[in-house]
């Protein structure tokens, strides 16, 4: 950087006092100021096109914090359909969003923690999603037309996540059900290791569609699982299962539930449900609700 450039930058930063939008300014200690890490308040806002209760936001180059603030503002102001274009890795879209009857359509690839702690809305991702989708989600529906990454549905306690493609490692860990809250994850492709670890309720369905890998699930399936159920379409070897689960053929009521889930999923994804249901499913369930009940002496 030339001397002149430096001067220009210094002038810029003083004119927009404490609203850092460019590279991090060094504090007196030589360490970047805390405010930079806290987000970039006052950054550029997304352009919005509104039509009735529908709004289109252009996310290109917009900082996540600003974008998410705008999404909340639009919904507060009556938008029920929010379309986000040019999304490139912005984190926390839908995080903590607690509204009924709102749909957010995402064009592009959203960043980590999509729909974390979400309570109510429907999120549709037309491409891939990244890690941490639906972390501790409470209710609502997340539809991902592409693949999703690791730790999807961690501690999820309600609502549904439908993924058309594959998912990564540690999916559905410690999902739990309570009362009418019954979390559901449906994976169109395959899932990697540690699926449903510590699972304490809810349902996971893996369909193994268009999968070119040998196994539709990885290893350590359901390790520490103590409630809930998984339905897997495809073969599973014993060594893939955690110590706390058993495998069985689905009962009649299981079959009915599988059909119900698959039909809804296929309707959403535009697939032929009868074709999907033609191949057999396996049921994975915990053999006790208290796997560690006899471990301790008082």
């Amino acid at each position: 950087m030339t001397e002149r450039d430096t001067r220009v930058n210094a002038a810029d930063s003083s004119s927009v006092r404490n609203v850092p939008t460019g590279p991090a300014r060094k504090g007196p200690t030589g360490i970047e100021p805390a405010r930079i890490t806290a987000g970039q308040p006052g950054g550029a806002r997304a352009t919005a096109e509104r039509e009735g209760s529908r709004v289109v936001l252009d996310g290109k180059g917009i900082y996540y914090k600003t974008l998410n603030e705008q999404i909340r503002e639009e919904i507060e102001n009556g938008a029920t359909e929010v379309i986000l274009n040019n999304i490139i890795g912005q984190r926390y879209i839908g995080t903590g969003l607690a509204y009924e009857g709102v749909t957010v359509l995402i064009n592009g690839v959203p960043g980590n923690d999509l729909a974390a702690f979400m309570n109510g809305p429907t999120l549709i991702v037309n491409e891939n999603a990244q890690d941490g989708v639906a972390n501790t989600m409470n209710s609502g529906l997340v539809i991902i037309k592409g693949h999703a990454g690791d730790v999807l549905g961690y501690g999820m306690r309600g609502g549904s996540v439908y993924v058309r493609g594959n998912v990564g490692y540690r999916v559905g860990i410690h999902m739990k059900a309570y009362g009418s809250n019954l979390p559901l994850i449906v994976v169109g492709g395959h899932a990697r290791d540690f699926l449903g670890e510590y699972m304490a309720g809810g349902e996971i369905v893996v369909l193994g569609l268009d999968s070119d890998v040998e196994a539709v699930v990885g290893s350590y399936v359901g390790t520490g699982m103590h409630a809930g159920v998984m339905y897997i379409r495809g073969e599973i070897a014993d060594h893939q299962l955690g110590k706390e689960v058993r495998i069985a053929e689905p009962s009649e009521s299981d079959q009915a539930r599988i059909a119900e889930i698959v039909r809804h999923y296929c309707a959403v994804m535009g697939l032929d449900s009868e074709e999907v249901l033609r191949r057999p499913f396996h049921k994975i369930y915990p053999y006790t609700s208290r796997p560690y009940g006899r471990l301790y002496v008082y």
Binding site: R17, N18, G27, P28, T29, G30, I31, P33, A34, R35, T37, A38, P41, K65, N68, R91, Y92, T95, G96, L97, A98, N112, D113, A116, F117, M118, N119, G132, N135, T136, N138, V151, Y154, G155, R157, R170, I173, H174, K176, A177, Y178, G179, N181, F194, E197, Y198, A200, G201, G224, H226, A227, S289, R290, P291, Y292, G293, L295, Y296, V297, Y298
Partner: protein
């Protein structure tokens, strides 16, 4: 024939027959079923083996007839194989189980607080009388700005820097996280009422927030732990701040396990899990395997709560300073350090007694590390795990803490006799139990007044210490290790603490 057990009773219940009024109150008061009432002889008969020395019967006996004594069986003396170890081996040989315990580490490790002495003014710079002069104990927890810029607008000073949200405490003492499920709802109510009255905070622990506590939510820090019990967007928004629990001083590196017996209807509603199932908190958060992942959760919680302060609670382990630096850089507004003497509702004895480091060391090393790295302002330090009195609070603050959290001391104020049997759920004092006939023994208003009295008394004592030191604000003591001297500490420990030996 093999003996039923090798284990002798730990205590002897001695009843003075002259003083006993045969009222049978001891039978009803004991949560451990020690007593049966012999109708023929009209007297209570104790089963010594069941006694835990909680003194509930002693306190409530109208004739003051009951004494609890140690069952002092003589063993051949051995520094190596103590009676406690021998009994532990017997217990495990008979059951094959992992030994569980409650409360904090009871081993005779060095208590550093007891080897630190505070300074006072004499002759030169005069001391201050806190009874007649104002003492500022108000404490703000949260991220402070790197620079404070003030401009003049219309002749009035205006702060240019946007301040992060802070927690305002009227005294540098708050209540540590104890979950509903491990302690009773009346304990939670007592803590919440007291926190509001004192202008400080209680912490839900990881068991969710009962609906009855909603009126106190401005004085409640809600916890988000690996099990995510009771965590939803409403819960997160309810609290004044959110705490991510990574670890606990009593059991660093291991998860939690609330047995199904303790999950009654109310606990189940609050935790949002079915009644009677085990509540397992995994040892790590499986969505946090790195500082970057922690940062992701911190900011997810901030997004979900309109940027409330986020606290990260870690157990003090060998490398605590480096870990704390990472936690602060991950964006934590408060770092909660829990020392190895911190209490628990249940932990394997081996972990409680042998894992972690003292809070005194952790405060000093974390504070120093953050200063060295120029990030001390980015997070407040809350110290906990072995804070037993106001002297510990003053020393902890002098070592570099912003505030101290108390758990065990708060429970002792409610009647806890530190019998270390919290994990059994039979607490006769109604603290660490969900049995309705026991939990109703604590009246929340009474409990709150006990807690308010305790914290008021400690606050006065801290003000006395400040006055003696010749300062009129807790801020002047914070990190002021020059006002501490060590007595009987080795050179390396003094150096780590940043404290001179007495006399220098």
């Amino acid at each position: 024939m093999s003996p039923r057990t090798f284990l002798p009773a730990e205590f002897k219940v001695v009843i003075d027959k002259e003083a006993c009024t045969q009222c049978g109150r001891c039978v009803h008061q004991c949560g451990w079923n020690v007593y049966t009432f012999d109708e023929a002889e009209r007297r209570p008969v104790p089963n010594h083996a069941k006694c835990v020395a909680c003194h509930r019967c002693v306190t409530y006996c109208p004739g003051e007839a009951i004494t609890i004594k140690k069952n002092e069986l003589a063993f051949r003396e051995s520094d190596s194989m103590s009676p406690a170890l021998i009994k532990g081996i017997w217990r495990q040989a008979e059951t094959g189980g992992v030994q569980l315990t409650g409360m904090g580490n009871d081993r005779p490790y060095l208590r550093i607080f007891d080897h630190l002495l505070l300074d006072a003014c004499q002759v030169t710079n005069p001391s201050i009388d806190p009874l007649r002069e104002p003492m500022e104990l108000r404490t703000f927890l949260g991220r402070k700005p790197d620079l404070v810029e003030v401009v003049s607008s219309n002749g009035k000073p205006r702060l240019v820097v946007e301040l992060d949200r802070q927690l305002q405490l009227e005294t540098p003492i708050l209540f540590g996280g104890m979950s509903y499920g491990s302690v009773s709802l009346n304990v939670h109510r007592s803590l919440a009422i007291a926190a509001k009255e004192l202008g400080t905070f209680m912490n839900t622990g990881e068991g969710g927030l009962h609906a009855d506590l909603e009126p106190y939510q401005d004085n409640i820090i809600v916890q988000c732990a690996s099990g995510r019990f009771g965590v939803d967007s409403d819960y997160l928004k309810a609290g004044a701040a959110v705490e991510i629990k990574i670890g606990q001083g009593a059991k660093p590196g291991i998860g939690g396990h609330l047995p199904g017996e303790k999950i009654d209807y109310q606990v189940s509603v609050t935790r949002m899990i079915p009644q009677g199932t085990d509540a397992l908190s995994p040892a790590p958060h499986h969505d946090i395997y790195s500082i970057e992942d922690l940062r992701q959760l911190i900011y997810a919680l901030k997004e979900a709560t309109d940027y409330k302060p986020v606290s990260v609670k870690i157990a003090c382990v060998h490398n605590v300073a480096a870990i704390a630096s990472g936690v602060v850089r991950a964006g934590a507004d408060i770092i909660y350090l829990d020392g190895f003497r911190g209490g628990t509702g249940a932990a394997p004895t081996i972990i409680r007694d042998h894992v972690g480091i003292p809070i005194e060391i952790a405060i000093a090393t974390v504070d120093q590390r953050m200063r060295d790295e120029g990030i001390r302002n980015r997070a407040s330090i809350v110290a906990a795990g072995g804070i037993r009195g106001s002297a510990d609070v003053a020393k902890a603050i002098a070592l570099g803490a912003d505030a101290c959290a108390i758990g065990t001391a708060a429970l002792v104020a409610l009647g806890c006799h530190v019998c270390q049997k919290c994990h059994t759920g039979s607490c006769s004092w109604g603290i660490c139990t969900q049995r309705p006939e026991l939990t109703r023994r604590i009246d929340a208003e009474w409990g709150a007044s006990q807690l308010v009295n305790l914290v008021h008394a400690w606050t006065h004592e801290i003000a006395e210490v400040l006055g003696a030191l010749g300062v009129n604000a807790i801020e002047s003591l914070r990190g002021s290790r020059e006002r501490l001297r060590g007595l009987g500490l080795d050179t390396a420990t003094l150096e780590i603490l940043g404290v001179k030996p007495a006399g220098r």
